[in-house]
Symmetry: C2
Subunit: 894 residues, 2 copies
Amino acid sequence: MTQYVYAFSEGSKEQKELLGGKGANLAEMTKLGLPVPPGFTITTEACRSYLAAGTEPGELRVQLTMALRRLEDDLGRRLGDRHDPLLVSVRSGAMHSMPGMMETVLNVGLNDASVKGLAEESGDERFAWDSYRRLLQMFGKTVLEIDGEVFSNALDEAKSAQGVATDVELNVDSLKGLVSTFKAVILEHSGDEFPQHPREQLDMAIRAVFDSWNTERARLYRRRERIPQDLGTAVNICTMVFGNLGETSGTGVAFTRDPASGHSGVYGDYLVNAQGEDVVAGIRNTLSLADLKDLDPSSYKQLLQVMRRLETHYRDLCDIEFTIERSKLWMLQTRVGKRTAAAAFRIATQLVDENLITMDEALQRVDGAQLAQLMFPRFDAAAEKTRLGKGMAASPGAATGQIVFSSKAAEKAAAEGQAVILVRKETNPDDLGGMIASQGVLTSRGGKTSHAAVVARGMGKTCVCGFAELDVNSAAGTATVNGEVLREGDMISIDGSTGEVFAGEVPVVSSPVATYLESGLDEALKDTDPDTGELVRSVDRLLTHADSIRRLRVRTNADNAEDAARARHLGAQGIGLCRTEHMFLGDRRVLIERLILASGSEERQAVYDELLPLQRQDFVELLTAMNDLPVTIRLLDPPLHEFLPDRTELSVKVALDRAAGNPDPDEERLLAAVDKLHESNPMLGLRGVRLGLVLPGLFALQVRAISEAAAGLKAQGGNPQVEIMVPLVGSVMELFLIRDEADQILATVAQEQGVELDIPIGTMIELPRAALTAARVAEAAQFFSFGTNDLTQTTWGFSRDDVEGGFFATYLDRGVFMVSPFESLDVDGVGRLIRIAATDGRKRRPDLKLGVCGEHGGDPDSIHFFHQVGIDYVSCSPFRVPIARLEAGRAAVL
Amino acid sequence: MTQYVYAFSEGSKEQKELLGGKGANLAEMTKLGLPVPPGFTITTEACRSYLAAGTEPGELRVQLTMALRRLEDDLGRRLGDRHDPLLVSVRSGAMHSMPGMMETVLNVGLNDASVKGLAEESGDERFAWDSYRRLLQMFGKTVLEIDGEVFSNALDEAKSAQGVATDVELNVDSLKGLVSTFKAVILEHSGDEFPQHPREQLDMAIRAVFDSWNTERARLYRRRERIPQDLGTAVNICTMVFGNLGETSGTGVAFTRDPASGHSGVYGDYLVNAQGEDVVAGIRNTLSLADLKDLDPSSYKQLLQVMRRLETHYRDLCDIEFTIERSKLWMLQTRVGKRTAAAAFRIATQLVDENLITMDEALQRVDGAQLAQLMFPRFDAAAEKTRLGKGMAASPGAATGQIVFSSKAAEKAAAEGQAVILVRKETNPDDLGGMIASQGVLTSRGGKTSHAAVVARGMGKTCVCGFAELDVNSAAGTATVNGEVLREGDMISIDGSTGEVFAGEVPVVSSPVATYLESGLDEALKDTDPDTGELVRSVDRLLTHADSIRRLRVRTNADNAEDAARARHLGAQGIGLCRTEHMFLGDRRVLIERLILASGSEERQAVYDELLPLQRQDFVELLTAMNDLPVTIRLLDPPLHEFLPDRTELSVKVALDRAAGNPDPDEERLLAAVDKLHESNPMLGLRGVRLGLVLPGLFALQVRAISEAAAGLKAQGGNPQVEIMVPLVGSVMELFLIRDEADQILATVAQEQGVELDIPIGTMIELPRAALTAARVAEAAQFFSFGTNDLTQTTWGFSRDDVEGGFFATYLDRGVFMVSPFESLDVDGVGRLIRIAATDGRKRRPDLKLGVCGEHGGDPDSIHFFHQVGIDYVSCSPFRVPIARLEAGRAAVL
């Protein structure tokens, strides 16, 4: 027989999955001998069974009866007894905290008879009728799903009828009247009388908690928080204790240390003569917990002991709910408390210093997302702001500057030392310079994976995108938001952490953690208040510890010396991905156009001859910036038509010029080239190694530039550690063909320059086939680097552009995804391929180096997976390097 | 120690992989006691080792010395002895026959001294010097790679100097002179004297054979024939016997039955006083083998006995090479002989009737490609033809008719009963009607996987595509080929089996096998000659046997009742894929346009209301044609913009109209819709289940139409066996969402119509993720159908369109593929996913039905793989159903 019901004395805090967070912690406190009102927990398993079958399992009814009888026997009271009634609360409690999402019913067991018994037993008639009123209200709203306003309106009427302002002032008659009114409301709205039978109340309340798991609201919340939808909730049945039995009673919440700053001390609120819901509802002003010391010194002392016991036991910040019933302290709930990012770091190191936890454990108390929060500048919370609206929080941070509508204008303004925000409908690769020159980027279209968002995150640049209320008219140099016109040069401020957009300049507060990461501890501690100093030191200690224990190395994705140097400061141990396509934008684009239009090998060679010194210089700079550390250079990946104008636009232009009798021969030639290169699915087209095999000399040029750069630096005493990476390999044969050519060039250059060159050649694993045939691919590859972006695209068969465009929103809404697989690695699908490739590849070549260079390399959840499957390094944008270092450390102790 | 050398007496015919085909068969004949000249074989392993290291393994040299000494001892002669020299031939012999690809050197062992010994011993000085001349010529050409023309020119000079016409007439002096000349040629061209040491000759010849494995020519041949490149060749060293020792000597080739027709009897050629190379060279006219009966009755009788022995032993048609040296018969080679498709079928059943093989074995002697050849009509070989050129053989068959340049013209002409050939630059989905109406299709662009080719193959319609010399000007109604102008109405003939295009009408011979398959045995045997009758009966017996033993069921891909009925005649056991998109072309396209442009759910519903009766009728017809058999209907798969005009073309049109001050509001609206739906990678975009989830009501409409059609037929006593298939599923969640909706509709319709509906719902597996997460997908899917086309696209990350466009030709050339993965399943990559999905899916749902509905379902090689991994059925175009039946039978006995 499955055990569906656990007495508090049977469970422990390890059983959260079965008993829910609240139930497990109630059990734990009971085990510790803390004053917990007796009760029991109905398991999440019972909930799942109920939800699947639409009715509670028969065994649950039986076990519930038995648990109830045991409780009644222990306390010597009966549920709903007409003399000395036992009352219980019914509270949901899932494995993961879902604040405000689920349901609670208090005072279950009261009815027309037992209310009198309660009055008699407590000697407080008003209290008894107020308790009954509360049950009817909560039951009506929660269990019978009657609009809560119906009850609160009636409550207001009663108060005005009696001529008082607060609930507490209502007298017995008013409360009795309210009970009648509420019963009538229930009959009217539900069609049934309020159930007088206590067990019926209990059963219905339990069912309501079960059902509350599946409300739209709860489902949405879980989706957002990445909580699985099929866990179910537990239900806690707990003997009622009352904080509303007069001046010696009360209820409160407390933290064992400050959840905002992490400082130790006693933090909390207390409300005299009240029940828990009154604290949350904020109806009356609460007292500080310190005030309890004077009101009830004995309970206060006991509470401090309990809190100290809890923190020592849980070895972490705890938050608690308690009630004092006529000077007797009862613990109603505890859990490890939420905290701000800064508090998380401070508390973690404090607990280490207090010898409560080890450094390894401390690392588990913080995460990369918290570190990221600490790295960004923020808007001054105290400043006045004019909010224009809210887009998507695409790349965190706070940025303020003059509006510019073009990349040119951005670059011009930046050259003049002006801070600007680039405002566009959407950005494209040509906006790179403009984005670099800007403080932040604001777009009206596109989501978190649009070009603007991805590039901005890569740069660590603030970005708000998909701000749909914004209507951009670049040509006119204006934009409108809900009728308000913004002009080029107007000040604007964007918050990439919240998506908010403000008119005017909002003062920005810089981040000391960022200063620490970029310039070291000494620099960050200069002119800093002790609080901030403590935070920076905490971050330093935890990050240093992470570095000392992690197995995963952290490299960066960087295409130029500047990014490389920056990433190196942030702790990057090399470059995992240098994309060479960025080296063909701007002025050099013309050369690529010439290459495409070349009519034979001679014309092509002429282009290569011009490109060679430029490419070589690119690599010299990069390798110099990363001297002594590995630098993986990817040969040209994108399809060539990405360097040409848009086909439709150009076709229209040519057609119009022709119609006007004014054809432009250059454009006509260009269009012919564009038409020739046109592909219906460029992502699945002629690019990567395919282009390298089809277009003679292209990869050879790059390999020669790389090897000449390395040889030159070596000859000058440098220590370049370059690696060549071939993109889009699907078959080992492709790699063999490229290798044959590359090996020859490497040998030639080594001989020409009189140095030894040891340049490993490896491959991206970004196609399912490469992963599936990894054993063979490893014959030709000295390393694998997983291109998780492309691998996600092909494994799922959708492109990021489409995700952006449309159906992804629906998919997130309808729960097909918990989170975009472009943000966090799809472990079941894409991850399985990575596992296959890692296993098979290493079987063939045990020393095969495995890296990740897709954007998942900087995603905390994904990093843990990469650690597990034995990846050697991740590579991410410079900004995310510290986050990856921290998470790699955390992965190592998990 | 690895054994690199096997005496003929050591091997057997099973050792082809190690000894090559020739060596294994020489060993087998030796074992049978047939008169084989003694010798030994150097293994393919030795070759692989040589090719990998660039030099022969040391052990090989030792083993070769020992084998040679044994041979010398057995024969009592020494290689190159100056009195009674042993001479040997050195011949390549790979596992797979590669005719003309590899090298042979005869008479190894002759030198300036031994030539005299040979003259003395044979008593024929002329013979000895002629043999030496031959050695020098072959050695120079083959081993030293001197241009063969240098030798043949010298030979011609010698003949004219002596005043004779043939080699045989050359006298001893001329031959001696030639020997001197050839030695001088060798010295001049190779820089070295001809090696006089016999062992040096032998070593060099062996190395030359090894090297011949890797010539460009050999690599290309293997690629074309799908022979792996890494097998290597064996080398056979065989004692020389001489057919050129006068009138009692000779050489010949023979078959144990007619390889063209399959008839039993003695077929072959004989040449008196000649060596084998002379037969092949065709210098002199050969005699029929029957003539040998008179020339040398004893040898003839012995030869017939040997041939009978061989056929009985090999239990198949054998071809042989033999030499008679002074009336003594020697067998030089035998192998199972090649034969025509018709002969293959006839011989297979003949051997069964002769009790030499079983029906199971007979099935192994034929294949689907041969059956396909027999199904097509052909041009009369005897007819006069005017060849215009050659395109790609895209869909086999022979077709002749008047040229039409548009589908409309084709339909009009067909309606008038005229045979037409549709001639286009390329075809698109709108040409479907025109293609149906035509005898064949000819395009100037596109390859074997272009729209024209794929659709034509699907229809079993003749197609030649990529005929680049053809310049089509549809507007003018003309096309030119190399200056010759073709006009609409001109007769043209195309051969889809060879790619040839002919001017005028070439008479076509129809296929009796096709008649048999479509109309049954009786119909095919009407007015047929006995030869053809025998062929048709053979096909019938083998196909019937295949049907009786195969486990794989064979369904068809069909979208309409006509195709369904046709496929049923051809043996289809249901429909594995009904594509519903074809039901929205033509007149209904307008409705889809309206659906796209609909501004809300009401407008959409109006379109659905119009579509419902049309869709229902589609399904009623289809299910009626396939009554009693399963019919899998796929919900709409392609992106909606496929129903709209091309974006670039429309943009140009709209821009021009605007510029002319004459904007067309309809076009403007259409362009807005096209722009809205535009995707950069439509293959990876909003289609399949994604569209079903995003566009409310679309799948519901189709499910309703399907269930109403099924319910209606059932109510009328029919037995529709319909199944609903969801395309492009990547996650089980997608399928659950669609199922939820579909199940409701099915239940509603069943209730409305008062019948029970049992309609399984399954999914395509066409994305890697679906395969990788098959265990979960199987929770929601009652069947899997592998869409191998899309699965190939996503696994490799290339689209068919791109394959077409460009780099595929390079890939086939450079050996990345042996064959297009769209033609024959890529077992290592795509196949691994299929295996994973089959295994994991069945683990979760043991009765999961597994089918294949991509084009690989009709590909012989792929079918064997599908059988192996436990697929339940394949589905292919109607035309390929018999081929699939045959191959499924073959797979079952392998």
